[in-house]
């Protein structure tokens, strides 16, 4: 099986503009970002949450702390998909109790990552609200989970893969649609 690139879904410029729009939507729908805190899901949710927080801070003048969450220990598929699971640190330096949390991830697919992330957050306390922001929603949900803020919704087939590449991690900036071929 090979993985080939089918087409580019977003350029660097489109990613930048999408994140800006998302940040403004978040501020608008949050009504005062006083208790708002962003949680980036490892790995690519982390740079996305930091970028969003910068824009939100400028427009709302709120502090908007950012934390990171590693969901390895909360996955329900350790026995099937992760032959070599590696646990990373979660860094959440603020109390989540009564916080207005926004989970940030690059792609929303089955919903299982979000389920795992929420379990991880509940272990830290009782947030007042948890919402979800993703850069790409590619469908194929296996759980009743939907994002509150979506950068772009993309129709995909089962075999396709969305690859989000971000400067902080991948040293390039674009979103691609890949496919597995035999």
């Amino acid at each position: 099986m090979r993985i080939i690139e089918k087409r580019q879904l977003m350029s660097a410029d489109e990613i930048r503009r999408t994140l800006e729009r998302l940040a403004h939507e978040i501020v608008e729908k949050t009504g005062g970002a006083k208790d708002l805190a962003l949680i980036g899901v490892r790995r690519r949710g982390i740079p996305l949450s930091e970028r969003l927080a910068r824009t939100i801070r400028t427009s709302s003048k709120a502090e908007v702390p950012v934390g990171t969450l590693d969901i390895t220990l909360y996955r329900d598929d350790l026995s099937t998909v992760a032959p070599q699971p590696v646990v990373q640190s979660s860094e959440i330096s603020f109390a989540v109790d009564d916080r207005d949390l926004l989970l940030v991830d690059d792609v929303l697919y089955t919903g299982r990552t979000v389920r795992a992330a929420m379990n991880g957050l509940f272990d830290l306390g009782r947030p007042r609200r948890i919402r979800l922001c993703v850069l790409i929603d590619r469908g194929h949900r296996e759980l009743p989970i939907e994002a509150s803020f979506i950068g772009r919704a993309v129709e995909t087939t089962d075999t396709e893969i969305i690859e989000v590449r971000l400067a902080e991690i991948d040293h390039e900036e674009r979103v691609m649609l890949m496919d597995r071929v035999d």
């Binding site: 993985i3 590693d70 220990l73 909360y74 996955r75 598929d77 350790l78 026995s79 099937t80 998909v81 992760a82 032959p83 070599q84 699971p85 590696v86 646990v87 990373q88 640190s89 979660s90 991830d105 690059d106 792609v107 929303l108 697919y109 089955t110 299982r112 990552t113 379990n119 509940f122 272990d123 830290l124 306390g125 590619r138 089962d158 893969i161 969305i162 690859e163 597995r180």
Partner: protein
């Protein structure tokens, strides 16, 4: 990629990268100990068999707590209640336990090599929780984690280990581990407990008979537990040991001012360690205990969640969203 670990039997055969990997894997579990809700479902449905053929309280509780915080269930075999007393062989006992389908063995035994022997006869991961005078790998890992956190690194650190080195599996595992990082290891104790042969364990080991001299320049001072049954006249009276080898505040001053004090426990105050040292700000004994949980959670996770029957194949194996 091949599997990283099948068992954890000893520190000696591991390399630096494997040790560093295990210490790094313990970091998230260190944070976890501070969570208000200390329960994961990660190993739900898995069972850890604690097979302690030699009495142990703290190590058994630590492994048991680590397993249950990961969501696993525990099977408990204790030395006192063991059918070994009725004459059953080690292998028969282990195979009986294995027939109850645990997912890992944590084993302590008074014979060196017992854990390795068992690992060749069972199909699940075996963790050595101490075998005779051979090794106690998780203790060395938790010690290394404590040292690395305080000193910033393990490379080239000066450590002085005091006491009955000869009979100590804790000392042996620590010597193997730290020497892989180029540590300068000073062994100190009564001559009969610090024989010349120990210098062959690893490079950069020196034996120093006077404690005052052994402590000079030490960044880490580890006092070992002294088994009272080994102190008897005329070989060595307890009073004599206290006089010559007890870690006192005055002696600790000879080490580096920021030196940390470690002890694998259980600690006998007034014998190998002065209570004033045990309770001082330089003592990291309780941090060792907490780090023990983190290290054991990391090991159980690594061996059970990363073990042999795990395979790729689910829908989102390439990118999990």
């Amino acid at each position: 990629m091949s599997h990283r670990f099948h068992h954890l039997l000893a520190i000696e055969p591991l390399n630096r990268e494997q040790i560093t990997f295990l210490l790094d894997q313990a970091k998230p579990f260190q944070e976890f100990q501070r969570h208000p809700l200390k329960k994961l479902a990660t190993l739900r449905g898995k069972t850890v068999a604690l097979a302690f053929f030699e009495n142990s309280t703290r190590t058994r509780i630590s492994f048991g707590t680590a397993a249950s915080r990961l969501g696993a269930d525990i099977m408990n075999l204790q030395a006192d209640s063991s059918s070994l007393k009725k004459g059953e062989s080690l292998i028969d006992t282990i195979r009986t336990l294995e027939a109850m389908k645990p997912d890992a063995f944590v084993m302590r035994h008074s014979s060196s090599g017992a854990a390795e022997l068992v690992s060749r006869r069972v199909g699940i991961p075996v963790i050595n929780a101490g075998d005779g005078t051979h090794e106690h790998p998780t203790q060395a890992l938790l010690d290394a984690l404590t040292i690395r956190d305080r000193l910033g690194k393990l490379d080239g650190c000066n450590i002085t280990i005091i006491g009955d080195i000869l009979h100590s599996r804790v000392a042996r595992s620590n010597i193997h581990l730290l020497s892989k990082f180029g540590a300068n290891i000073t062994l100190c104790g009564p001559a009969m407990w610090v024989p010349r042969e120990l210098e062959c364990l690893a490079p950069k080991i020196r034996r120093v008979m006077r404690l005052e001299e052994a402590l000079e320049g030490a960044a880490v001072v580890m006092a070992l537990r002294i088994q009272q049954e080994r102190l008897y006249e005329p070989a060595l009276a307890a009073d004599e040991y206290i006089l010559t080898y007890q870690l006192t505040p005055a002696r600790l001053k000879l080490a580096r001012p920021d030196a940390i004090v470690l002890h694998p426990g259980p600690m006998i105050r007034g014998l190998e360690i002065d209570p004033a040292v045990a309770d001082s700000a330089q003592s990291y004994v309780l941090e060792q205990v907490t780090n023990g949980l983190a290290v054991r959670m990391a090991i159980l996770f690594e061996l059970i969640a990363g073990s042999a029957d795990m395979q790729e194949g689910a829908k989102d194996s390439h990118v999990a969203h």
